[in-house]
Symmetry: C2
Subunit: 383 residues, 2 copies
């Protein structure tokens, strides 16, 4: 499939609009802006990205020049032997000097402080820009294809978990598989092994809640999975290019059809209501408001300050960060190419939690769902 | 097993030594200093850590207060409702004001620039400190136990890969398993599935090189695994608490005993030479120099500037970062409790690459090897 490339026209435009001489960022592969700008997947050491004079330049750390040349989609890779300075901030200054740059340098607001000080000491005036966030929020067809593939892997992981639940035996107040007690950690390992086998990284994001723990939105502990309790799986793997998927389903083995059935209908309806609002030109938080109203129609309250009900926003952008622009609780205007989650949820520390989450791409006249996984509260064998 | 806690006496001492009023850091779970200071495992949003007046305080992002209270080992967790400011830097300022702090605030040098500006605008004078790096470099018994367990998982992944190689059939100039061609990506997926099943995250670090690609130190591509070529596996998973393991072995199926045999003997001897130097009080780069001399005795050159031979340092610290202090090419003095890799390697773009890597803890009179995996160039069935 086509490689994912970053095009730098947006930086050229931003420099012109802001009357700035260059854009600089410094960090490592855990900085998602830098990952996006460079496509460089390692290592965990400081490197610098400089856009100046129409050129995109990567100052690579020692030992990894070969990898940098293989991965960087910009113009030049310079290794440490090119520089006097041992720090990425100092190397960025040397590049700027080589281009006779002067005046304002644009940086992301989270540029490391030591690099900022170096640039300022060299006489540059720093101004922050969110141009990279804005560019990242609108995906190219190649990026959408990456995300679609990661989502397929997330679905394979979900299918394994759902199948395990479908086959589990009720043994008193616990569930058993082949005679062993089923726990959230056991399910997490099953899911993660499937993800790894599909070539994506679990990325420390596989949330498996059971019962009251479902209300703990990033539950990573180990508790028994019990009959009649909600089991919430939120799977967000990352591919080798840095792109995330994001998929949530909730199941109940041996449901008595009470609270969780009403909660499931509420979030299903809320997701449909959100889908109705999704299209280029729509205001993002309108999507959240419609979902919240629908949850309310089923008797569940909504609000961040609450412990029960719909306690979070209905969605967020997904790309080389798991959470990026646009947030569906912001007042931004949706654009074709935004990839967002649609994930209403209802929680109650006594009853449990129900959330369903699809990943979709906004289009000119609606949306395309990148998710193909069925929705049912009762687990079925799918593996 | 015992929870891993951070004790903050070192910050108290550093504030006193530097005549500073507080320590502040801001970031998310991808910032390893913040991960260490807070033990908070998520999410990817801004939170602030403040040490002031003897109290360790976490300003947690919305939605994740419950998780923060579960994981933070300091004194207080404050949610967003406690603050006027919407940014972690602004919240850190509010905490400092509540403690009537004034004067110098110590920060890591990579504090995000926007937080630095907020602190400076509030009248604080910033000075950088490496106190957190120094504290992280010396592991507690609980941390060593974590790392030992991650290393066991890495060994299980290695055993799977070695077993696959041992069972592979030579089919012309490629290897086959059950009739399918064996590739580096296929091996990577086998390893990563075992890691996930053992409850650790592959963390995007599973390097599998074959032939000339072994010289590419972070090779993540997909090439055929061929008989007679070196296959280099470097496995560095991360546990749920953030601790890494690190293990490298090199195998050759159907070796003709030429270059790779000499390279293997060289790195085995170099590792032994490095082990000889390891003890509290030793100068770190002495360990590297002895390993490099031993590699040289086998006719392989050493040097960072080189493309062939021993092209990297012999080791680095491992903890909540895969690469942290002490580096074995630095002039620091080793301390009991340092956990370091010992990983000599020899590379040649034509011949391939051979590296073996163990993870050890420095003790008062030597070292303890946290690695139990055998070393052999010819793969054996171990799964």
């Amino acid at each position: 499939m086509a490689a994912v490339e970053t095009t730098f026209a947006f930086l050229y435009d931003e420099l012109e609009a802001r009357d700035a001489t260059a854009f600089v960022h410094v960090g490592d592969r855990f900085d998602d802006d830098l990952r996006y700008l460079t496509r460089f997947s390692g290592p965990d050491r400081g490197y610098a990205f400089v856009f100046v004079g129409g050129d995109a330049i990567l100052c690579a750390p020692a030992l990894f020049e070969r990898q940098a040349r293989r991965e960087f989609t910009g113009d030049y890779v310079y290794g440490p032997e090119k520089f006097e300075s041992a720090t990425p901030g100092g190397r960025a200054v040397e590049v700027l000097d080589a281009y006779d740059a002067a005046g304002t340098v644009l940086v992301p607001q989270h540029l490391p402080h030591d690099a900022a000080v170096r640039l300022e000491n060299a006489g540059f005036s720093l101004e922050s820009t969110d141009a990279v966030d804005r560019e990242r929020a609108v995906k190219s067809p190649e990026e959408i294809e990456r995300i679609r593939r990661v989502q397929r892997a997330a679905e394979a992981g979900m299918a394994r978990a759902e199948t395990v639940l479908a086959r589990a035996d009720v043994a008193g107040d616990v569930l058993e598989v082949d005679g062993a007690r089923l726990t959230t950690e056991g399910l997490r390992r099953e899911v993660n092994a499937v993800l790894a086998d599909r070539g994506v990284d679990p990325a420390g994001n596989t949330v498996v809640g059971a019962g009251g723990a479902c209300a703990d939105l990033h539950f990573t502990g180990d508790v028994p999975v019990r009959p009649g309790e909600t089991v919430l799986l939120d799977i967000s793997p990352r591919d080798a290019f840095g792109y995330y998927g994001d998929l949530t389903r909730t199941f109940v083995v041996d449901s008595d059809g009470g609270w969780e059935r009403r909660a499931f209908l509420a979030v299903e309806s809320a997701q449909e209501a959100a889908f109705e609002e999704l299209e280029a030109g729509a205001t993002a938080n309108r999507v959240h408001e419609e979902a919240a109203a629908e949850v309310g129609a089923y008797g569940f309250p909504a609000g961040y300050e609450r412990d029960t009900g719909f306690t979070h926003g209905v969605g967020h952008g997904v790309g080389v960060s798991l959470h990026e622009a646009p947030s569906l609780t912001s007042d931004s205007t949706l654009e074709a190419g935004n990839v967002v989650t649609v994930e209403p949820g209802v929680y109650d520390a006594q009853e449990g939690g129900v959330r369903i989450e699809d990943l979709v791409v906004v289009t000119e006249d609606g949306f395309e769902n990148l998710t193909e996984y069925p929705k049912s509260l009762t687990p079925e064998e799918r593996d």
